[in-house]
Symmetry: D2
Subunit: 354 residues, 4 copies
């Protein structure tokens, strides 16, 4: 018997589908509604043919027709801004909220206008929301009622850079550059010229190279860890894969520091974190590098680091599945923590490879 | 009637095959030999089934059995070090050399031991060799007899960064990070675990993240352009495509400089360069970004640039076909210039898209 | 100086782009107009970024505003039915027509209603049109003024099956099944759920499995070759590649016939055909099979055949590039033949591999 | 607490890795050994980096050093012939055997010499072995001690064709052609020219087109269902995906039969089969076709059927994940049945899409 009742806003896109896939494996929840404008009244497998045989009794609802108070936990998988009135109302009614959009990620309410183009209606909730990156805010999530799951590129960027920012090994005056390689599922399920198979397969190109929204989340979190403002830049690139976000965070070591210092920082920062795999990268150290191929379909993140001794460059790397660790899975992990369940409940699924 | 006789050392790998493809389209040359240990005695299409119908009279030779003096131009498509005795001998006998390996790229002979693991037998030739990036050394190539075609990652890095290095717009003390995304053909035709289709398709991962050989070429050339040593770091990544190298060069603007300065630098640097397409990237400027998809099979390079105003980050981008602009095609362009032919002879082939 | 002036109807889609790519390499033609509703008034590279640097003086025209009589040759790359009034008018005005749509492929006018959903306005032209598969109708094309370039799936099917149909080696009463594997570019450039990269990459699925339009062309041509009606079925499948159509034609040998008979039939049928590569497939015969990978970007077709002795099954295989041999390239080859030029003029381009 | 102890022969290849992935999700088993010559003495994640965090206490053993009698169930994931002495010995010692190779699939022992090149050492076990396709032999599996898991291509072929063979709707004298499209993981983890990413991505080509080993399994099973010998031919094709086997089974309807008869046959045959999704394909019937994309990572099979009315052709289609339903997953399902557990124990995992 499921312990909690769950509702999903925006259940027909890629993130919503991934959330439904993961919740089908979760032993303690029951999905009681999922909304979709396009698929309202139709079964879940009409949008997600791979889920045929799961959720067979459930049909998509219009968002206007669901009773927000009927659930214990509400996930929001709508685009930023589209669900904010529903999540804030549900919050006020006592529902636990896991928001997968950007609606509650930034602490500085004024940024919403410049970065996301809307004036935030509930700055009070920004203070209450926990930025749901479990390796950093795991403790705060316990008992919280509003989780803002990080963006996919931001998740990868922060995971790769956090030990560097927190340890003082990196020269923050030299700036940090985050170079992200992202799969086509990041752009969502709506067909467009940029995700046409013939034009995307075999492609490599930057997008939003003048500044990506997720940079603001990464600055917020890494500055907090560093204890001072971090000059961070983030450039995402569309590459040929379907799933995956790979962040390469490039910076420069402070004088006198080297690979061993970096190694200690990563080992220490991620000690005991079950969903993080730390991989040192240096000549002579055996083992394969972080690779999105190793984490597909799972909550695991592979983290690596390397130093180019000749010039003092240090890089942190993170490979994640953008739809799991970068969205739905991180939301489920947040729910587990918020409800006091084991962190990995329903998430100990080995990645799919090859 | 062909004007010059051409020989190819290492004709059965990916670079050799691409060279043969391009030379088949060149109106002024005749390939009189191509060497291969594995395919000796067999026709060209035994190694390159796509070339069936071309070179039908030609069979691979063992390198020991060819007469180096029988050709006007000798291309070397062997791995570094493997052909150096042959190319140096041929050079001494008066043959024009286009070397696609690293054997003559670095001006500092001492680097060969640390970077490539062999003591360079002919430092005298390093002085004579021209680093064959035509947009930079085009004039020197005219009449030269020894061209060292740049490495694929270095080509992309230098093309992306040259206007920044040459213009003084970038703060060199802040360092330059080159983040490269490379296709599987970069690794050559020999099967290995890292290029197994099941393990490479859908993958994104760094390689040689502690320092890549091509960084040395890029430092050499960009320092020359900048007039002082450039602190440059280069991190290549294996991504899911077959062809293509995409370099993202990240740096920081000197105070008071902005997008318009950068735009002028790129426009000026590449003015009149027929194989370069310059693409400004800023909100409100229409047009698609540089993409390897737009240059496949061709000598064209797409160059873009962008500025993240909030933090002062500037990026230069370059998309090339690693086998053409990053290897065989750049070699043919060098040959054209060395022999006094039109630069684009045999190379004005539109890219293949989609 | 170009010998003939060419116009292109429908120049902004994949087929139109491929035609423009090939015509840029053709030494005897000049493109004087290309039409596009979406891109009217804009340069060619606005639709085809890979063609930047080619056709720089040309901008797309609205179809209503072009003077059909201003060209010697008119190519039609519009969807079926959309260009028929223009091509028929131009034909009447003396222009040579190369139609890449289905508008003139079927000899039986009545089929247009059931198969393509429109009543053919000019049955008289169906008699005049030559079905432009050069290996079969090459002689008829010489001097003709209206060429109907075959469909991509039909081209592959007919090339694979023709020697079997013509030789009497196959038991026609047992039926012929054509199983096609097609790349995503077959579906055109318009974004849709079925060509979304995330949903197409890694996919394999049938489409129109109850009967595909191209089956009618294949029946028409193979029945003509066999001298009696051919019971042919055709099932296309969407697979994960971008370019390419691979047809596997499966039938059953008449009693007493075997591999050697089949080998003779293929060798004889394609003797002297420069754009066809014939590949026997049997244990002990060295060489690689027909592969779309070997013909990308080119007019070449790779044809193979095999016999499963235990049961008497015979298969013919054909690998083509759907946009070249299956569309634009075959149109150019038809033009060459119609104008009395060498068949391969502008088309002797080696395929791109890898 | 695990109920049964499991051993795995051949645990470092793709099939072995997939088996370990699935067994990690199975609540009733504990893997006590896994063998590998190449990785002996090293942890599981040395061969399967995606499994880091699972099986952390386990290291690969040499096959010679494991105690076959220490396990309740032994899986064999070695190539055909390589494990037969071990599995037969373990069987004799009372161990339950799930063999994923071809070693016990064929009932006719004499075929092993001609098809697999070795004389079968234990014809007595061929009689005892159950061909472990659960939709057909599910009842026989209950309580059995030796399961021969079907080959991947055979699984897809039989699932697609079984209702046609069993119902008498197909004219068996006209023959059946099975055309398979297979992903690169079918060829195993050993690097080779044929699975080099650069040469496989974007490729479509036949292999073993003169007769594939899996045809013999399909003939055996379909003939049994039909009650008479089935003239079946099978031609596999390598396509561009990583996972997946898609079988298209083409035949001809007996006179007077049509789509509705076929629909009834499929609905009836697969009624109540939880891992099969049946999809009618006809104009006007909504829904998406069977697609490997819909079953990746799972035991589900998508089955479709269509009729080309004009010629009487009927096709059955099956999409499976070759490593799950075509190998490791079907083995686990067999184990569940053999041990009297619920058929879907540990296997009710939703597929991964996109």
């Amino acid at each position: 018997m499921a312990e909690v009742r769950v509702g999903v806003l925006g259940g027909s896109g890629f993130t919503g589908g991934e959330l439904l896939r993961l919740l089908a494996l979760h032993p303690r929840v029951e999905v009681v509604f999922a909304t979709s404008r396009e698929y309202a009244g139709r079964p879940i497998h009409s949008a997600h043919p791979h889920l045929r045989g799961f959720y067979e009794g459930l049909r998509y609802s219009r968002i206007e027709s669901v009773d927000l108070g009927s659930v214990d936990v509400l996930f929001n998988a709508l685009p930023h801004g589209a669900g904010i009135n529903y999540t804030s109302e549900a919050y006020d009614r006592g529902v636990t909220i896991v928001d997968l959009s950007a609606d509650y990620r930034l602490k500085d309410a004024s940024l919403y206008e410049s970065v996301y183009g809307f004036k935030h209606p509930r700055p009070d909730l920004l203070e209450k929301a926990v930025y749901a990156l479990p390796e950093i805010h795991g403790e705060e999530l316990r008992g919280a009622r509003l989780a803002a799951a990080p963006g996919c590129n931001a998740t990868a960027a922060i995971l790769a850079a956090a030990p560097l920012a927190a340890s003082g090994l990196i020269d923050l005056d030299m700036g940090i550059v985050v170079d992200v390689k992202a799969g086509s599922s990041e752009g969502g399920s709506k067909p467009s010229k940029s995700n046409h198979h013939s034009l995307r397969e075999g492609s490599a190109r930057p997008y939003s190279p003048w500044g990506h929204r997720h940079a603001w989340e990464a600055r917020q979190e890494l500055s907090r860890l560093a204890g001072k403002p971090v000059k961070l830049s983030l450039v995402p690139h569309a590459v040929s894969m379907v799933r995956g976000a790979f962040a390469s965070v490039h910076g420069w070591l402070v004088d006198g520091k080297g690979f061993n210092d970096v190694a200690r920082a990563y080992a220490s920062f991620y000690s005991g974190k079950r969903f993080v795999r730390v991989k040192p990268l240096a000549p002579g150290i055996p083992g394969d590098p972080p690779d999105v191929k190793n984490v597909i379909g799972s909550e695991f993140a592979e983290i690596g680091y390397s130093v180019e001794v000749e010039v003092g460059r240090v890089s942190g790397f993170a490979a994640i599945d953008n739809l799991v660790r970068g969205a739905a899975g991180q939301g489920v992990q947040a729910m587990n923590l918020m409800l006091g369940w084991p962190e990995g409940e329903g998430l100990m699924i080995p990645p799919l490879r090859p």
